[in-house]
Protein backbone atom coordinates (compact mmCIF):
# COMPACT_ATOMS: atom_id res chain seq x y z
CA UNK A 1 0.00 0.00 0.00
CA UNK A 2 1.52 3.28 -1.12
CA UNK A 3 -0.05 6.56 -0.05
CA UNK A 4 1.31 9.81 -1.42
CA UNK A 5 0.85 13.10 0.41
CA UNK A 6 0.82 16.02 -2.03
CA UNK A 7 -0.39 19.60 -2.28
CA UNK A 8 -0.88 22.16 -5.03
CA UNK A 9 1.72 24.42 -3.47
CA UNK A 10 4.34 24.33 -0.73
CA UNK A 11 3.80 25.30 2.89
CA UNK A 12 0.38 23.69 3.41
CA UNK A 13 1.56 21.15 5.97
CA UNK A 14 2.17 18.25 3.58
CA UNK A 15 5.31 17.09 5.38
CA UNK A 16 3.64 17.35 8.81
CA UNK A 17 0.84 15.09 7.60
CA UNK A 18 3.26 12.60 6.02
CA UNK A 19 5.41 12.34 9.15
CA UNK A 20 2.48 12.07 11.57
CA UNK A 21 0.69 9.53 9.41
CA UNK A 22 3.81 7.35 9.09
CA UNK A 23 4.35 7.50 12.87
CA UNK A 24 0.76 6.31 13.40
CA UNK A 25 1.07 3.18 11.24
CA UNK A 26 3.10 0.28 12.67
CA UNK A 27 5.95 -1.00 10.43
CA UNK A 28 5.51 1.73 7.88
CA UNK A 29 8.23 3.32 5.80
CA UNK A 30 8.37 7.01 4.95
CA UNK A 31 9.79 8.16 1.62
CA UNK A 32 10.71 11.81 1.21
CA UNK A 33 10.38 12.52 -2.53
CA UNK A 34 10.67 16.30 -2.12
CA UNK A 35 14.26 15.98 -3.33
CA UNK A 36 14.83 19.70 -3.78
CA UNK A 37 14.06 20.30 -0.14
CA UNK A 38 13.65 17.09 1.85
CA UNK A 39 12.15 18.09 5.21
CA UNK A 40 10.83 14.93 6.85
CA UNK A 41 14.02 14.33 8.78
CA UNK A 42 13.76 17.76 10.40
CA UNK A 43 10.97 16.21 12.46
CA UNK A 44 12.49 12.76 12.87
CA UNK A 45 16.23 13.42 13.35
CA UNK A 46 17.24 10.01 12.17
CA UNK A 47 20.72 8.98 11.33
CA UNK A 48 20.80 8.30 7.58
CA UNK A 49 23.30 6.44 5.46
CA UNK A 50 23.76 6.86 1.70
CA UNK A 51 22.80 3.76 -0.28
CA UNK A 52 22.73 4.82 -3.93
CA UNK A 53 23.06 7.70 -6.35
CA UNK A 54 20.86 8.75 -9.23
CA UNK A 55 22.50 9.05 -12.61
CA UNK A 56 21.51 10.57 -15.90
CA UNK A 57 23.14 10.34 -19.31
CA UNK A 58 24.39 13.61 -20.76
CA UNK A 59 26.13 14.18 -24.09
CA UNK A 60 29.86 14.15 -24.47
CA UNK A 61 31.29 15.60 -27.69
CA UNK A 62 34.44 14.47 -29.44
CA UNK A 63 35.67 17.76 -30.85
CA UNK A 64 38.04 15.92 -33.22
CA UNK A 65 35.01 14.65 -35.13
CA UNK A 66 32.77 17.71 -34.74
CA UNK A 67 32.31 20.03 -37.74
CA UNK A 68 30.36 22.66 -35.76
CA UNK A 69 27.34 22.12 -38.00
CA UNK A 70 25.00 23.08 -35.15
CA UNK A 71 22.49 20.23 -35.69
CA UNK A 72 22.73 19.15 -32.05
CA UNK A 73 21.89 22.65 -30.80
CA UNK A 74 18.94 22.95 -33.16
CA UNK A 75 17.58 19.60 -32.03
CA UNK A 76 17.85 20.30 -28.29
CA UNK A 77 14.67 22.06 -27.20
CA UNK A 78 16.17 22.74 -23.79
CA UNK A 79 19.12 24.60 -25.32
CA UNK A 80 21.56 22.48 -23.39
CA UNK A 81 24.08 22.66 -26.24
CA UNK A 82 25.45 25.84 -27.81
CA UNK A 83 27.38 25.60 -31.08
CA UNK A 84 29.80 28.43 -31.69
CA UNK A 85 31.81 28.89 -34.88
CA UNK A 86 34.66 26.85 -33.45
CA UNK A 87 33.44 25.38 -30.22
CA UNK A 88 30.57 23.39 -28.75
CA UNK A 89 29.51 24.06 -25.15
CA UNK A 90 27.32 21.63 -23.22
CA UNK A 91 25.22 22.64 -20.21
CA UNK A 92 24.66 19.32 -18.46
CA UNK A 93 22.35 20.79 -15.81
CA UNK A 94 19.82 21.74 -18.53
CA UNK A 95 19.97 18.36 -20.28
CA UNK A 96 16.83 16.17 -20.02
CA UNK A 97 18.69 13.07 -21.28
CA UNK A 98 16.42 12.56 -24.29
CA UNK A 99 19.34 11.30 -26.39
CA UNK A 100 18.14 13.26 -29.44
CA UNK A 101 21.44 15.03 -30.05
CA UNK A 102 23.32 11.72 -30.05
CA UNK A 103 21.06 10.38 -32.79
CA UNK A 104 21.07 13.59 -34.81
CA UNK A 105 24.80 14.24 -35.04
CA UNK A 106 25.81 13.49 -38.66
CA UNK A 107 29.46 12.98 -37.64
CA UNK A 108 28.69 10.57 -34.77
CA UNK A 109 30.71 12.91 -32.60
CA UNK A 110 28.40 12.67 -29.59
CA UNK A 111 28.35 9.85 -27.10
CA UNK A 112 26.64 9.54 -23.74
CA UNK A 113 28.33 9.82 -20.38
CA UNK A 114 26.89 9.15 -16.94
CA UNK A 115 26.55 11.93 -14.45
CA UNK A 116 25.48 11.69 -10.82
CA UNK A 117 22.64 14.10 -9.98
CA UNK A 118 21.57 13.08 -6.49
CA UNK A 119 22.05 10.85 -3.47
CA UNK A 120 19.61 8.33 -1.95
CA UNK A 121 19.85 7.68 1.80
CA UNK A 122 18.04 5.43 4.26
CA UNK A 123 17.75 5.10 8.03
CA UNK A 124 21.01 3.65 9.28
CA UNK A 125 19.04 1.61 11.82
CA UNK A 126 16.95 -0.87 9.87
CA UNK A 127 14.67 -1.38 12.90
CA UNK A 128 13.72 2.30 12.84
CA UNK A 129 10.08 3.24 12.82
CA UNK A 130 9.16 4.65 10.43
CA UNK A 131 12.11 3.68 8.31
CA UNK A 132 13.02 6.82 6.40
CA UNK A 133 14.17 7.00 2.78
CA UNK A 134 15.30 10.29 1.37
CA UNK A 135 16.62 11.59 -1.95
CA UNK A 136 18.60 14.81 -2.32
CA UNK A 137 19.14 16.57 -5.62
CA UNK A 138 22.75 17.78 -5.92
CA UNK A 139 23.29 21.53 -5.74
CA UNK A 140 23.15 23.14 -9.18
CA UNK A 141 21.09 20.30 -10.66
CA UNK A 142 17.56 21.03 -11.86
CA UNK A 143 16.18 17.63 -12.90
CA UNK A 144 14.36 16.18 -9.88
CA UNK A 145 12.57 13.28 -11.59
CA UNK A 146 15.58 10.97 -12.07
CA UNK A 147 16.39 11.25 -8.34
CA UNK A 148 12.78 10.45 -7.44
CA UNK A 149 12.75 7.44 -9.79
CA UNK A 150 15.91 6.04 -8.22
CA UNK A 151 14.58 6.71 -4.72
CA UNK A 152 11.34 4.86 -5.48
CA UNK A 153 13.29 1.83 -6.69
CA UNK A 154 14.41 1.33 -3.08
CA UNK A 155 10.93 1.20 -1.57
CA UNK A 156 10.21 -2.15 0.00
CA UNK A 157 7.17 -3.41 -1.87
CA UNK A 158 5.49 -5.21 1.04
CA UNK A 159 5.61 -2.50 3.69
CA UNK A 160 3.06 0.28 4.04
CA UNK A 161 4.63 3.28 2.37
CA UNK A 162 3.92 6.93 3.02
CA UNK A 163 5.37 9.23 0.39
CA UNK A 164 5.98 12.94 0.89
CA UNK A 165 5.61 14.39 -2.61
CA UNK A 166 7.22 17.60 -3.91
CA UNK A 167 4.77 20.54 -3.94
CA UNK A 168 2.98 21.70 -7.09
CA UNK A 169 1.72 19.84 -10.14
CA UNK A 170 4.87 19.51 -12.25
CA UNK A 171 6.80 16.60 -13.68
CA UNK A 172 8.50 15.62 -10.36
CA UNK A 173 5.06 15.32 -8.71
CA UNK A 174 3.78 13.05 -11.47
CA UNK A 175 6.90 10.89 -11.16
CA UNK A 176 6.21 10.67 -7.42
CA UNK A 177 2.53 9.77 -7.80
CA UNK A 178 3.05 7.12 -10.44
CA UNK A 179 2.11 3.64 -9.11
CA UNK A 180 0.70 4.90 -5.82
CA UNK A 181 -2.58 3.51 -4.47
CA UNK A 182 -3.95 6.67 -2.95
CA UNK A 183 -3.18 10.36 -2.90
CA UNK A 184 -3.95 12.67 0.02
CA UNK A 185 -3.98 16.34 -0.91
CA UNK A 186 -3.26 18.74 1.93
CA UNK A 187 -4.77 22.20 1.65
CA UNK A 188 -5.73 25.28 3.62
CA UNK A 189 -9.21 26.80 3.82
CA UNK A 190 -8.42 29.94 1.82
CA UNK A 191 -9.22 30.99 -1.76
CA UNK A 192 -5.55 30.47 -2.67
CA UNK A 193 -5.61 27.06 -1.06
CA UNK A 194 -8.72 26.15 -3.05
CA UNK A 195 -7.18 27.35 -6.29
CA UNK A 196 -4.09 25.17 -5.84
CA UNK A 197 -6.21 22.26 -4.65
CA UNK A 198 -8.25 22.39 -7.86
CA UNK A 199 -5.11 22.12 -9.99
CA UNK A 200 -3.84 19.24 -7.89
CA UNK A 201 -7.19 17.40 -8.08
CA UNK A 202 -7.20 17.71 -11.87
CA UNK A 203 -3.74 16.20 -12.05
CA UNK A 204 -4.54 13.31 -9.72
CA UNK A 205 -7.76 12.56 -11.62
CA UNK A 206 -5.89 12.44 -14.92
CA UNK A 207 -3.51 9.94 -13.31
CA UNK A 208 -6.49 7.94 -12.16
CA UNK A 209 -5.44 7.71 -8.52
CA UNK A 210 -8.07 7.71 -5.73
CA UNK A 211 -7.90 11.00 -3.87
CA UNK A 212 -8.87 12.42 -0.47
CA UNK A 213 -8.31 15.79 1.17
CA UNK A 214 -6.93 16.90 4.53
CA UNK A 215 -7.70 20.47 5.55
CA UNK A 216 -4.88 21.96 7.57
CA UNK A 217 -5.34 25.03 9.80
CA UNK A 218 -9.04 24.40 9.52
CA UNK A 219 -11.37 26.93 11.17
CA UNK A 220 -14.84 26.50 12.60
CA UNK A 221 -17.48 27.76 10.15
CA UNK A 222 -15.19 28.08 7.14
CA UNK A 223 -16.53 25.66 4.53
CA UNK A 224 -14.76 26.80 1.38
CA UNK A 225 -12.94 23.48 0.87
CA UNK A 226 -15.86 21.30 2.00
CA UNK A 227 -18.17 22.90 -0.56
CA UNK A 228 -15.73 22.22 -3.36
CA UNK A 229 -15.10 18.63 -2.22
CA UNK A 230 -18.85 17.97 -2.01
CA UNK A 231 -19.30 19.08 -5.58
CA UNK A 232 -16.38 17.01 -6.81
CA UNK A 233 -17.33 14.01 -4.71
CA UNK A 234 -14.02 13.94 -2.85
CA UNK A 235 -13.73 12.75 0.76
CA UNK A 236 -12.51 15.20 3.37
CA UNK A 237 -10.45 12.73 5.39
CA UNK A 238 -9.38 14.99 8.24
CA UNK A 239 -9.42 18.52 9.56
CA UNK A 240 -6.39 19.69 11.51
CA UNK A 241 -7.45 22.76 13.46
CA UNK A 242 -5.53 25.97 14.03
CA UNK A 243 -4.52 24.81 17.45
CA UNK A 244 -2.00 26.41 19.76
CA UNK A 245 -0.59 23.12 21.03
CA UNK A 246 -0.10 21.76 17.48
CA UNK A 247 1.58 24.98 16.37
CA UNK A 248 3.92 24.91 19.37
CA UNK A 249 4.99 21.34 18.75
CA UNK A 250 5.47 22.16 15.09
CA UNK A 251 7.77 25.05 15.88
CA UNK A 252 9.82 22.77 18.16
CA UNK A 253 10.09 20.22 15.34
CA UNK A 254 8.09 17.59 17.27
CA UNK A 255 5.51 15.54 15.31
CA UNK A 256 2.25 16.25 17.18
CA UNK A 257 1.10 12.61 17.34
CA UNK A 258 4.02 11.97 19.72
CA UNK A 259 2.52 14.28 22.34
CA UNK A 260 -1.17 14.03 21.47
CA UNK A 261 -2.11 10.33 21.33
CA UNK A 262 -5.70 11.11 20.28
CA UNK A 263 -4.27 12.29 16.96
CA UNK A 264 -2.32 9.08 16.51
CA UNK A 265 -5.63 7.27 16.70
CA UNK A 266 -7.22 9.61 14.17
CA UNK A 267 -4.39 9.08 11.70
CA UNK A 268 -4.54 5.35 12.18
CA UNK A 269 -8.34 5.39 11.58
CA UNK A 270 -7.78 7.43 8.46
CA UNK A 271 -5.32 4.84 7.23
CA UNK A 272 -7.78 2.00 7.95
CA UNK A 273 -10.42 3.86 5.99
CA UNK A 274 -8.17 4.18 2.94
CA UNK A 275 -7.25 0.49 3.14
CA UNK A 276 -10.91 -0.54 3.38
CA UNK A 277 -11.82 1.58 0.40
CA UNK A 278 -9.12 -0.09 -1.62
CA UNK A 279 -10.36 -3.52 -0.63
CA UNK A 280 -13.92 -2.59 -1.65
CA UNK A 281 -12.89 -0.99 -4.94
Amino acid sequence: MKIAIASGKGGTGKTTVAVNLALSIPNSQLVDCDVEEPNCNLFLNKELEPIASSKITVPNIDEELCTYCGKCSQMCRFNAIATLPEKVIIFPTLCHSCGGCILDCPEHAISGREKCTGIISRSADMEDHPRLYEGVLNIGESMASPVIKELKRWIEPDAVTIIDSPPGTGCPVMTTLEDTDHCILVTEPTPFGLHDLRLAVEMVKIMNIPVGVIINRSEEGNLIIEEYCDKENIDVLMRIPLNKRIAELYSQGIPFVEEMPEWKERFSDLFEKIVNEKVLA
Partner: protein
Protein backbone atom coordinates in the same frame (compact mmCIF):
# COMPACT_ATOMS: atom_id res chain seq x y z
CA UNK B 1 33.77 48.09 -33.48
CA UNK B 2 30.55 46.16 -33.77
CA UNK B 3 28.40 46.61 -30.67
CA UNK B 4 25.20 44.71 -29.91
CA UNK B 5 22.50 46.18 -27.64
CA UNK B 6 19.48 44.39 -26.16
CA UNK B 7 16.44 46.38 -27.28
CA UNK B 8 12.65 46.61 -27.26
CA UNK B 9 12.59 47.88 -30.84
CA UNK B 10 14.51 47.78 -34.10
CA UNK B 11 16.28 51.16 -34.34
CA UNK B 12 18.58 53.55 -32.47
CA UNK B 13 15.68 55.43 -30.87
CA UNK B 14 14.04 52.35 -29.37
CA UNK B 15 14.19 51.81 -25.63
CA UNK B 16 16.91 49.43 -24.66
CA UNK B 17 15.84 46.26 -22.82
CA UNK B 18 17.78 45.23 -19.71
CA UNK B 19 16.98 41.55 -20.27
CA UNK B 20 19.33 39.49 -22.39
CA UNK B 21 17.70 36.10 -23.01
CA UNK B 22 14.18 37.45 -23.40
CA UNK B 23 14.55 40.86 -25.04
CA UNK B 24 12.67 40.99 -28.37
CA UNK B 25 15.49 42.44 -30.52
CA UNK B 26 19.19 42.95 -30.77
CA UNK B 27 20.35 46.18 -32.39
CA UNK B 28 23.85 45.90 -33.79
CA UNK B 29 25.66 49.21 -34.19
CA UNK B 30 28.97 50.09 -35.82
CA UNK B 31 30.17 52.72 -33.38
CA UNK B 32 32.40 54.47 -35.98
CA UNK B 33 29.68 55.09 -38.55
CA UNK B 34 26.57 54.62 -36.33
CA UNK B 35 25.18 52.35 -39.04
CA UNK B 36 22.94 49.73 -37.50
CA UNK B 37 20.85 46.68 -38.14
CA UNK B 38 18.33 44.80 -36.03
CA UNK B 39 17.98 41.10 -35.41
CA UNK B 40 15.13 39.24 -33.80
CA UNK B 41 16.17 37.44 -30.62
CA UNK B 42 15.40 33.69 -30.83
CA UNK B 43 15.62 33.48 -27.00
CA UNK B 44 11.99 34.28 -26.07
CA UNK B 45 10.76 31.24 -28.01
CA UNK B 46 12.96 28.88 -26.02
CA UNK B 47 11.40 26.50 -23.49
CA UNK B 48 14.47 26.70 -21.34
CA UNK B 49 17.96 28.05 -21.76
CA UNK B 50 16.75 31.26 -23.44
CA UNK B 51 20.03 32.99 -22.65
CA UNK B 52 22.05 30.22 -24.26
CA UNK B 53 19.95 30.35 -27.40
CA UNK B 54 20.25 34.13 -27.60
CA UNK B 55 23.99 34.06 -27.00
CA UNK B 56 24.58 31.38 -29.60
CA UNK B 57 22.76 33.48 -32.22
CA UNK B 58 25.25 36.30 -31.63
CA UNK B 59 28.43 34.26 -31.79
CA UNK B 60 28.64 34.04 -35.59
CA UNK B 61 28.14 37.76 -36.26
CA UNK B 62 31.60 39.11 -35.52
CA UNK B 63 30.42 41.26 -32.62
CA UNK B 64 33.05 42.77 -30.31
CA UNK B 65 30.88 43.86 -27.39
CA UNK B 66 27.40 43.28 -26.01
CA UNK B 67 25.61 45.91 -23.91
CA UNK B 68 22.75 44.75 -21.71
CA UNK B 69 21.17 45.03 -18.24
CA UNK B 70 22.16 41.76 -16.66
CA UNK B 71 23.11 38.28 -17.74
CA UNK B 72 23.05 34.75 -16.37
CA UNK B 73 26.14 32.54 -16.13
CA UNK B 74 25.19 30.18 -18.98
CA UNK B 75 24.75 32.91 -21.58
CA UNK B 76 27.89 34.61 -20.33
CA UNK B 77 29.98 31.48 -20.75
CA UNK B 78 28.84 31.22 -24.39
CA UNK B 79 29.69 34.85 -25.21
CA UNK B 80 32.92 34.62 -23.28
CA UNK B 81 33.97 31.57 -25.27
CA UNK B 82 33.22 33.49 -28.48
CA UNK B 83 35.42 36.39 -27.32
CA UNK B 84 32.52 38.86 -27.03
CA UNK B 85 32.95 41.33 -24.17
CA UNK B 86 29.86 41.85 -22.02
CA UNK B 87 28.94 45.21 -20.45
CA UNK B 88 25.98 45.68 -18.12
CA UNK B 89 24.04 48.59 -16.66
CA UNK B 90 22.43 50.16 -19.77
CA UNK B 91 19.41 52.49 -19.62
CA UNK B 92 17.46 54.81 -21.97
CA UNK B 93 17.42 54.59 -25.77
CA UNK B 94 19.75 52.35 -27.77
CA UNK B 95 21.61 55.43 -28.98
CA UNK B 96 22.23 56.53 -25.34
CA UNK B 97 23.69 53.16 -24.43
CA UNK B 98 26.39 53.66 -27.06
CA UNK B 99 27.43 56.92 -25.36
CA UNK B 100 27.31 55.20 -21.97
CA UNK B 101 29.68 52.62 -23.41
CA UNK B 102 32.02 55.22 -24.95
CA UNK B 103 32.17 57.19 -21.71
CA UNK B 104 33.05 54.09 -19.74
CA UNK B 105 29.87 54.20 -17.62
CA UNK B 106 29.08 50.52 -18.06
CA UNK B 107 30.45 47.57 -16.11
CA UNK B 108 32.57 45.04 -17.92
CA UNK B 109 31.62 41.69 -16.45
CA UNK B 110 34.07 38.95 -15.72
CA UNK B 111 31.37 36.82 -14.15
CA UNK B 112 27.58 36.54 -14.45
CA UNK B 113 25.19 38.83 -12.56
CA UNK B 114 22.13 36.62 -12.17
CA UNK B 115 21.95 32.97 -11.23
CA UNK B 116 21.35 30.11 -13.65
CA UNK B 117 17.86 29.63 -15.07
CA UNK B 118 16.64 26.12 -14.62
CA UNK B 119 14.47 24.89 -17.42
Amino acid sequence: MKICITSRGTDLFSQCDPRFGRCPYFVIVDDDTMKYEALENPGPLAEGGAGIKAAQALTALGIDALLTGKMGPNAFSVLNAAGIKVFTGIYGAVEDTVSQYRQGQLDLIEDATTSAQHG
